[in-house]
């Protein structure tokens, strides 16, 4: 019995807990990508850098709060600065839409033009973020870092294996649940949300019904920017903030959105967790786990690792390719890209 408990704790500490937090961050990012896709009809490559920009603004405000001596310990100051970060990202997104995307929308440009434009915007955001805060690694996890540490867990349970739970991991999951619920409620129950869904479903019909397209577009950008900033700050809180990592995380976010079914909010959430768990589970070495579960002498001598961790990102793409081949609409029947 103790063996099974140890095995479970080991798996929880190294696979379940980190993958859940990572999945929540991917899910929030993918939700933003999917919203833009379903309403504005293009894959927004600048999403990762919107995350970085919003987080950078939040970090500047965190520093200001810290200088003022304001804190909400044991919670991280980042939560307090989050709304300011969201405001910054919203201003950036609306400004970009006004200056860049509106032009192409009026031209009725093809979606692929929008995608290319968003790549250009991505590089500009990239530079803006570096201009604002630099390229260095920043840590923003002040306050109490752990709910409980490995040592505390071992002392409390007497098990051989330990489990650590970081405050940032719990906050990530809690915030993600609240935000997702709010987004779903907004899309399903409010007038504005319904008009967005109508616009997404059939643009011409929505216009005929008297829906103001500019308003829908504005609200979509605001929602996407807010989601991006929340995902970005949570990621920065859990790991650390470095502009470059937000560029890298864009790829798993896209994979999550497409696997779940692009344009499907629920698919984005599911896709985020699928990608995160797959990346972690495929690259984990199971020898220690099997050592507890299997009878003596059955434990294989190798590491029992399916793929080296070098191939972590490859895992999400293998899943992506398989999904596109077998079920191009994604798991939850989104649009076909």
């Amino acid at each position: 019995m103790t063996d099974f408990l140890n095995a479970f704790v080991l798996l929880a500490n190294f696979v379940i807990v980190p993958a859940t937090a990572y999945g929540a961050q991917l899910a929030l990012g993918a939700l933003g990508v999917t919203l833009i896709y379903s309403v504005l009809r293009f894959a927004n490559f600048a999403h990762g850098d919107t995350m970085a920009f919003g987080t950078a603004v939040a970090i500047l405000f965190i520093w200001l709060l810290q200088a003022w001596g304001v804190s909400i310990a044991p919670l991280p100051t980042a939560l307090l600065a989050l709304p300011i970060g969201i405001l910054g990202a919203c201003a950036l997104a609306l400004g970009t839409d006004r200056l860049v995307y509106r032009f192409y929308r009026r031209q009725r440009s093809a979606p692929v033009v929008f995608v290319m434009v968003s790549v250009g915007v991505m590089f500009i955001y990239n530079a803006l973020t570096r201009f604002l805060i630099g390229v260095d690694d920043r840590r923003i996890d002040d306050g109490e870092r752990f709910l409980f540490t490995v040592a505390q867990f071992r002392a409390a349970t007497g098990l051989e294996q330990g489990l650590a739970l970081r405050t940032s991991q719990v906050i990530t999951v809690v915030v993600m649940v609240i935000v997702t619920a709010a987004v779903f409620w907004f899309l399903q129950k409010t007038r504005t949300g319904k008009s967005m869904r109508a616009y997404s479903d059939n643009e011409d019909l929505a216009l005929l019904s008297g829906i103001n397209p500019d308003r829908v577009v504005r609200i979509t950008w605001l929602l996407a920017a807010a989601l991006a900033t929340i995902a970005g700050v949570l990621y920065g809180l859990d790991k650390s903030f470095r502009p470059f990592t937000y560029f890298q995380i864009l790829l798993p976010i896209f994979a999550a959105a497409i696997v779940g079914g692009i344009g499907q909010p629920f698919g984005a959430i599911a896709g985020g967790f699928i990608i995160a768990f797959a990346e972690t589970a495929f690259t984990y070495a199971y020898r220690g786990f099997l050592g507890y579960v299997l009878p003596e002498g059955w434990v294989p001598p190798g590491l029992v690792q399916l793929l080296s961790t070098d191939y972590k990102f490859a895992v999400s793409f293998i899943i992506l390719v398989i999904v596109l081949l077998v079920r191009p609409t994604g798991i939850f029947r989104g649009r076909v890209l």
Partner: protein
């Protein structure tokens, strides 16, 4: 620089009249243009300072005349052409250089060994140069990266540890260290449970740490960079309780890791960085300052030592013959003999001309091992109370 040139020119003019001395060219091939162009001027100045010292002593029956050439650090074809020119047109007796490992390998293979000319590199650290087929013509005053792997293996086994896991940054530096450490650790009876690369610049290293932890090893060798993935690995290991004993290579030494992680590191880290407690280093800085350049920049001390070894080898053999230089470098570099520090080259030459023996210590505590490369001195430190405490020198 101007002063050295003037002085060289002046002595060259006067000397033949006085002693009918012959003038012997020595090459200095460094990357005066290219990625390391900021440090090469001081490296060349340091080498020329050593030759100048020998000339000023007036004890050799020849004038050593340094000739510069550009290795570019990265362009093997250009470096090979420049070395060809030194050997055929300038007829140099020996060469100080080259600097970067890639061009050095090219010159050794294509020019120096076929023509039988000694090269003493002050800065090429690639392990590949240890095993290069050089007929004994290649030496270096910089230690091979492989040496650090050996030192770390000694440090680990001396602490009674026989099983470790290795994580290295995914480039030549990290891989080279991982390989050399593994080889000498296994030679000493140790077992490497797992070797895994990590990419720098990632946000999340929990998967890497999870795999390393599953190997069952209790100690983690971190061959990475302090501001990059190395720190992420250490942080994640501490957070998940995967490891609480770490060994760092030189790339991991930096105040920023203590600033970032803090007291959690106390007593958990042992590491190595190049360094020695040698009085010659200070002596070199002083004479460099006297000669009007900054001796503290990278590889300037090694460059002085490279030129000094060539000079002493000429004195020991009594001639600037290329093969004679090759045969005498190891005898002047190592024990036994009178210890020679920077600025004491005249004394060294005098002893050698009288048939005595010298052990050149120089600016970097020179001791050439194996196929003629610096043994390399490393400082072993522990992190205690939020700072790097020196434990010993190896």
């Amino acid at each position: 620089m101007k002063r050295i040139l003037l002085a060289t020119a002046a002595t060259a003019l006067i000397a033949p009249a006085a002693h009918a001395q012959e003038s012997v060219n020595v090459g200095i091939i460094l990357g005066f243009t290219g990625p390391i162009e900021t440090i090469t001027p001081n490296m060349a100045a340091a080498a020329e300072l050593a030759f100048q010292e020998a000339n000023d002593s007036g004890l050799l029956d020849m004038q050593l005349n340094p000739v510069r050439a550009d290795s570019t650090c990265i362009d093997s074809a250009a470096a090979t052409a420049a070395a060809e020119r030194l050997i055929t047109a300038d007829n140099v007796a020996a060469i100080v250089g080259a600097d970067c490992s890639g061009v050095t390998i090219a010159i050794v293979n294509n020019v120096a060994v076929p023509n039988g000319v000694v090269m003493v590199s002050p800065s090429a650290t690639s392990p590949a140069l240890t095993t290069i087929d050089d007929d004994g013509y290649f030496f270096r005053t910089a230690p091979s990266d492989a040496r650090q792997g050996e030192v770390l293996a000694e440090v680990v086994t001396d602490r009674g540890i026989d099983e470790v896991a290795i994580t290295y940054t995914n480039n030549d530096y990290g891989l080279g260290l991982a390989e050399s450490f593994t080889a000498s650790f296994e030679e000493r009876g140790g077992n490497v449970a797992m070797t895994a690369a990590h990419e720098d610049g990632r946000g999340d290293y929990s998967a890497e740490v999870a795999a390393l932890q599953a190997s069952g090893a209790q100690h983690l060798m971190v061959f990475g960079y302090v501001d990059q993935g190395g720190r992420g690995i250490v942080q994640s290991s501490l957070d998940t309780g995967a490891f609480d004993s770490f060994f760092f290579a030189d790339g991991m030494q930096g105040q920023s890791i203590i600033d970032a992680i803090g007291a959690e590191l106390d007593g958990k880290v042992v590491g190595t960085v190049p360094g020695s407690d040698n009085p010659g280093t200070e002596a070199f800085y002083e004479i460099a300052e006297g000669a009007g350049f900054d001796g503290t920049t990278s590889f300037a001390p090694e460059s002085y030592d490279a030129a000094a070894l060539i000079t002493l080898a000429i004195a020991a053999g009594g001639s600037a013959d290329r093969t004679s230089i090759r045969d005498h470098i190891l005898t002047v570099a190592n024990e036994p003999g009178e210890e020679i520090l920077p600025g004491e080259l005249a004394r060294g030459i005098e002893i050698l001309l009288e048939g005595g023996e010298v052990n050149y210590i120089g600016a970097t505590d020179v001791e050439l091992v194996g196929p003629g490369e610096a043994a390399g001195n490393y400082r072993v430190y522990e992190i205690q109370n939020g700072s790097f405490e020196t434990v010993e020198f190896r």
